[in-house]
Point group: C2
Chain length 434, copies 2
């Protein structure tokens, strides 16, 4: 019998409790021993949960959990401060922890994992990346024979839905965002999703697992999708690309390249074919090459599937007394070391640039001149508008340095023929391609 | 220190040994303890392997392995009889086993798993399905909170390559098969791949894991892709479908529906977008809904990635003395029971039918008449040729019973206007669609 306390009965918490109740038979059959939900703490919850448990199980006071001897504490309240406090207290008490809290782990992960290592308890966080996709387990166990070379992922379903719908329906960013909000899967304050912040949380966790480090979200270069227009997606399509908000991590000469930004990827790429709210993550290992994992990246039940799989895994470690059987971050904690990151300005890649200029003779020459002065050569001019008050000039560059491109764009944006801030989309291709 | 014996230095065996040697540092860092390759048996092998090990490590005589006390025996010779003998002998000796042998497990799995359960040793078989894709682990661990509702997979890369290339290049089955053989990824005797036999092996293993049973390949209804022509793929495309050789398992009222056959799936389906030699498997769970796993389904190193991940997993069970921590077939052996299968003749679905007839008045009426007499209604006539010696009549039916369709086709094929055996492709859609 393994005893469990759960903090939080929101979207994920409710799904977790419902799953534990509904699938109790198959869960215990697979485990070979029973799970016991001893305490649930939540400030607000659907009263129907009370019928499922003895009267003293559900409480409004999370502190009550810490009066019990619990094998596992499941933190599902989200946010940083309270969640961190509860998790550290649970670990201090000798309880293992299961959490879906990517914001917390990508900010205070080192402190939490260190404490868990010292107290010899487990921390399960499968639900923190990719919702129902068992991506953490794939990296920690399925691909454990590999040096991980790179991970690229669509890890925010809302952003992917917006980009997909804009292209399919020819609508504006604002129109689709509004609809996503009306449908309830984009927040009123959509910043976490569309500015890449949530993706950066997940990308930091993926990088940590891949490379035996503890990367924070603050170290992930982060750009969102606000500036993207339907026409950009359409130009990309004509060139054989899709635009996706990607989390990207790579190891280059002992340094971590970790970033989140809209990226143009070949339409034949597996990730390019993943549309709508789905998440997808491609992991490249030195032995297996690419494997890709696709599924629902959010939602009550998909996320609960991962939370409960963690509860079961950690329960087995408790039952068999094999805490930390699989190291928390894929490598034993004594091998975890802080690794330097690569400044995005030092990277070289190809760029899609969309300038918005007044329609006059010699505008392209002026832009080309600035780019040329910064060592950036133009691969192709995709669109050169004519006849309206202002027109787009859209072009692709050859491989160029980020630093130079940014400087050139800054100068172009000050030209008196330029009407708007220039949009830049990075082309994400394996280095050996074109 | 965990000691390992390996039998077989063919494609997968070589990759496995090379991976264990090349990635030794990261493997042992992740494990926290060393692995020791004590013995390797192979009748033929690349002599360069000898330089990697002390002189008495490699032998031509597999019996020598059984004189050692080995923690793990890795069987990579393939085939049935010898492999079974070695595996049972290893288990009898108290060694855990790692194998990629889908033919063996889908034939004698019950005997092997039963013996392993009795002797309390592990059997790792991640490499038996989906090559480098950690699909076994996903089902056993990642999705363990779910009742598995269905699994659909492209589990043979050669067949998928042939279907993909036929459509992309407009070539015949024979032309593409010949090229695949010349390129070395289709066997001289391609029957295992193109007749669906290899897919049936893997489908049986997936069904066993999903439903807590031991299904044999003999119980999987199996059809290959020999009859398919470019025109069929092209008609499917025009209708918004792709044709894939699928392994399908579903649970229906306590009975298993398990089959391998070419299937028409919607082009928007994740599996429809997986082309070339790649494998992809979609698992539907009652909590998580669909998750899909994509990667290279064969090849020396991708398969080795899975073999080595099993070696590491089993090693941990040996190191921590937690044999059978995760039950061999996802459910503890005492819960494994033989489940009945559903006869494909009792299923209902939609069908694509391609008749080849002489061009004369009233042919369609004759065919429609036979179909109508068997309760099969035509949804649409896709192609009704004219003018040559013989012409194709291609149509889609509404949902109909397999038994009735087969009987009707049998009668049509005897009509004097029919020039060739009728081709039938089943439409695989979720029951609630159309």
């Amino acid at each position: 019998m393994v005893s469990i306390g759960i903090i939080g009965l929101g979207t994920v918490g409710s799904g977790t409790v419902k799953t534990l109740v509904k699938n109790r038979e198959i869960i215990e059959k697979r485990l070979g021993f029973p799970l016991f939900i001893k305490k649930i703490a939540s400030l607000e919850y659907d009263r129907s949960f009370e019928r499922l448990f003895p009267s003293n199980t559900i409480t409004r006071d999370a502190e009550e959990l810490f009066k019990e001897k619990l094998d596992i504490v499941v933190e599902l309240i989200g946010g940083i401060d309270k969640a961190k406090e509860y998790i550290l207290k649970a670990i201090e008490n000798g309880s293992s922890v299961v959490t879906a809290n990517k914001a917390l782990l990508s900010t205070h992960g080192f402190e939490i994992f260190k404490k868990a290592y010292e107290k010899k308890v487990d921390v399960g966080f499968e639900a923190s990346v990719g919702g129902g996709i068992p991506i953490i387990r794939a990296i920690k166990e399925g691909l454990c024979a590999n040096n991980i070379l790179s991970i690229k992922g669509i890890v925010n379903g809302t952003a992917n839905y917006i980009l997909t719908s804009m292209l399919e329906e020819g609508k504006t960013f604002q129109e689709i965002l509004k609809r996503a909000q009306d449908l309830g899967f984009a927040e009123k304050d959509p910043s976490l999703d569309i500015d890449g912040i949530d993706s950066a949380h997940k990308t930091a966790i993926l990088a940590s697992l891949a490379f035996g480090t503890v990367l924070t979200a603050q170290e992930v270069y982060t750009e969102g999708i606000r500036g993207i227009e339907y026409s950009d997606l359409e130009y990309a399509r004509r060139l054989g690309y899709k635009v996706k908000l990607l989390g990207i991590v790579k190891m280059k000469g002992g340094k971590i390249d970790a970033r989140v930004h809209p990226a143009m990827i070949r339409e034949t790429d597996t990730l390019a074919k993943v549309d709508g709210v789905y998440n997808a993550i491609t992991v490249k290992g030195d032995v297996v090459e690419d494997t890709t994992y696709i599924g629902q990246g959010a939602g009550s039940f998909p996320t609960a599937s991962s939370v409960v799989s963690d509860i079961m895994d950690v329960s087995r470690n408790i039952y068999y007394k094999t805490h930390l059987r699989i190291p928390l971050l894929s490598f034993p904690f004594q091998h975890i070391r802080k690794l330097p990151t690569i400044d995005i300005n030092s990277l070289s890649m190809k760029y899609y640039l969309r300038f918005r200029v007044i329609d006059s003779v010699g505008v392209l020459a002026k832009i080309a001149n600035v780019l040329g002065n910064h060592g950036i050569s133009i691969k192709s001019v995709i669109q050169l508008g004519h006849g309206k008050e202002w027109v787009p000039v859209v072009l692709m560059t050859h491989r160029a340095r980020e630093k130079d491109v940014k400087k050139a764009v800054e100068i172009v944006d000050k030209l008196d023929v330029v009407r708007d801030k220039t949009l830049l989309i990075r082309v994400e291709e394996d280095e050996d391609v074109g």
